[in-house]
């Protein structure tokens, strides 16, 4: 088990009568970049504050590297935290902000200044030592907050939506830097965000949360390709959802009828217990919708193009089909895509193995 492993077992948290977290089980591997992703109110910030020790769980246990954290105050936990509003000390300059934790620990002055300059260099702020916090831009403040918590070399760094106040350009840039810093230090990063793109971009592992529950844990690819619930499918990326009826279940596939058409979805793509006669939802990503007949087993339909958005390298088409509206995302340089126009009728196909089937319970 590498340094900075967090084990969360059966953790629940109530505020008065409101249950914010309900029986969360989660293991965060040491040295990985993990994102807690979910809409506001899903409990992700509460979970982060429970790990930090600013809150105590109502039930369950949290252990860091095997040591139970119950009753351990935040200052004695082996972790750093970057706050949403950064919480930099306004009365101290950049140097003193980064040196703060080291001063508390009573480190020698020479070691403090050595470490401060090392970490300011790491975040690209060498030479800013004597600037006051009020003189810094949003991105620079961000870097100071990062350097301040990393300078103590914690096993774990908790980040509570630290980039949410920045504009998109700067955000993208800091995401890249954040990831590269995490790779260099091999510190466990636990990052809270509601932005699925940010989560996908940064993480080794994404923990999708909703309504106080963990919905799915997986790599960004797994979460995108094999969402564990309709909620995850909708929350991570664009998705088309179709209602269907299960016609037959056999060893290799599940046969579904969708508005009179029949397709066979491989068993590997089925979530939940599919039983003959039951209803289900079929999810497919916009990029799985193709123009023309597919070679392999596929859902094939006639559709009218109701709206067309050309987005540079890609084209997004909203299509009227007998199954309801479908969104398709295609590469703009395909010859047939270039000829698409609003109002035209086209034949579409969605390969069966690109669907995820959610059986209704």
């Amino acid at each position: 088990m590498s340094r900075g492993t967090i084990s969360i077992a059966g953790v629940g948290k109530e505020f008065g009568a409101a249950t914010v977290l309900d029986a969360v089980d989660l293991t965060i591997a040491g040295g990985s970049f993990v994102t807690l992703l979910g809409p506001s109110g899903c409990g992700k910030t509460t979970l982060l504050r429970l790990i930090a020790g600013f809150l105590e769980p109502s039930r369950g246990t949290i252990a860091i590297d095997g040591v139970p954290m119950q009753g351990v105050p935040p200052r004695l936990r082996p972790l750093g935290m970057v706050f949403q509003n950064l919480a930099l000390f306004p009365h101290l300059d950049v140097f003193e902000n980064v040196a703060y934790g080291m001063r508390i620990r009573g480190m020698a002055a020479a070691e403090i200044s050595g470490r401060v300059s090392r970490f300011l260099t790491l975040v690209g702020l060498a030479g800013f030592e004597r600037r006051r916090i009020g003189q810094l831009s949003g991105g620079q403040k961000q870097r100071v907050a990062l350097a301040r918590s990393l300078a103590l070399e914690p096993a774990i760094l908790l980040l509570d939506e630290p980039l949410s106040a920045l504009d998109l350009q700067l955000r993208r840039q800091l995401q890249v830097e954040l990831k590269s810093i995490q790779r260099q230090l091999a510190t466990t990063f636990v990052f809270v965000t509601h932005d699925q793109e940010e989560a996908t971009m940064l993480s080794d592992t994404i923990v999708v949360m909703n309504g106080g529950h963990v919905q799915q844990v997986g790599t960004p690819g797994e979460i995108y390709r094999r969402p564990a619930s309709p909620f995850v499918a909708r929350f991570v990326g664009d998705i088309n959802m179709l209602d269907g009826r299960i016609e037959a279940v056999d060893a290799g596939s599940v046969a579904v009828s969708v508005a009179g058409r029949r397709i066979a979805v491989p068993r590997a793509s089925v979530v939940g217990n599919a039983s003959t006669g039951g209803t289900c939802q079929l999810a497919c990503r916009p990029e799985s919708v193709r123009l023309g007949e597919a070679q392999a087993d596929a859902l094939s339909i006639e559709a009218r193009v109701s709206a067309l958005h050309r987005l540079g390298p890609t084209v997004k088409a909203v299509l009227d089909t007998p199954l309801g509206p479908l969104t398709a995302l295609m590469m703009a340089d395909q010859p047939r895509v270039a000829e698409l126009a609003e109002g035209k009728t086209e034949r579409l196909s969605v390969p069966s193995d690109t669907f995820t089937l959610f059986a209704s319970t």
Binding site: R75, F83, N85, A87, F89, H91, G101, R103, S149, L152
Partner: protein, 279 residues
């Protein structure tokens, strides 16, 4: 549309009371200077010279400044924990604030007489100490400078509490969490984060209590010694008993200058202690 054009004019009338107050204030100050420099025989600096020459007058000013300095520091030190508690206990804040402010509902004279009952030679404190055998004869707690300091500190402390609290309330609680996550305990967090950030409020309180003590009249008259005057009581005596407006004015101007000097020193101390970017 009609409202839009008539609003500035009606707002102009609202300035009238403020202008009247300003005129009254400036007029009084002008009158003060006139009296101070214009005696029975025309322009004269006799009262200023008197102040500069007489050692007993130096003593009065020295006592005034010393008492004001001690009172403002004592009020700041006593007020800080109260303000901190009010800040820390949001649920109790309103109740505690009422307790801090309730003395203001009682007239200053009544409050000061309260101290006579407690601190007098036959007062509660001396009688209790005598009964307990700690002392044989009463300790002189009032009718001296100590009595004035106690009385003024009591009267002025709520100002210090409120000015400190108002700044504490602006401190983001996340700063404390950040400090804690960086390994600081409660005391370290207070010393390194909360205290420096609350200093501007402490200095505001110091300024208010210092200036008010400099001009105190009622408390020194009731609790002070007969011969241990403060500048305020001296001026009061010149105006009310001696009808010597010129002397009173000269004293008032000297008191004003000393107050301004004290305020300037406080400002300098604040500038040295509190970094510029936070103010």
């Amino acid at each position: 549309m009609r409202g839009a054009t008539s609003t500035p004019r009606s707002l102009g009338w609202l300035l009238l009371p403020a202008l009247l107050v300003l005129a009254l204030f400036l007029g009084s100050v002008a009158l003060l200077f006139f009296h101070a420099f214009w005696g029975k025989d025309g322009f004269s600096l006799i009262y200023f010279r008197q102040i500069l020459d007489r050692a007993d007058y130096h003593e009065v000013f020295l006592r005034t400044v010393s008492i004001a300095a001690i009172v403002s520091v004592a009020a700041a030190i006593l007020a800080y924990p109260i303000a901190w508690l009010l800040w820390r206990l949001p649920r109790w804040r309103n109740l505690l604030l009422v307790i801090v402010l309730v003395p203001w509902l009682v007239s200053l004279v009544v409050r000061t007489y309260g101290w006579l009952v407690i601190l007098g030679p036959k007062g509660f404190l001396n009688e209790t100490l005598k009964w307990a055998g700690v002392i044989q004869s009463p300790v002189p707690l009032i009718f001296n400078d100590l009595g004035v300091v106690i009385g003024l500190t009591h009267v002025l402390m709520p100002f210090a509490v409120i000015s400190t609290l108002s700044v504490l309330l602006q401190i983001d609680h996340r700063l404390e969490e950040a400090s804690e996550s960086l390994g600081a305990g409660g005391f370290d967090t207070w010393r390194r984060v909360v205290l420096p950030l609350s200093l501007p409020g402490v200095f505001t309180g110091l300024s208010i209590t210092f200036l008010t003590s400099m001009g105190a009249i009622v408390t020194p008259i009731l609790l002070g010694g007969v011969r241990q005057k403060m500048a305020g009581t001296q001026i009061y005596q010149e105006v009310v008993y001696n009808f010597n407006m010129s002397k009173a004015s000269a004293w008032a101007i000297c008191l004003l200058l000393l107050s301004a000097l004290g305020l300037a020193l406080l400002r300098a101390a604040e500038a040295a202690l509190v970094p510029k970017a936070d103010r």
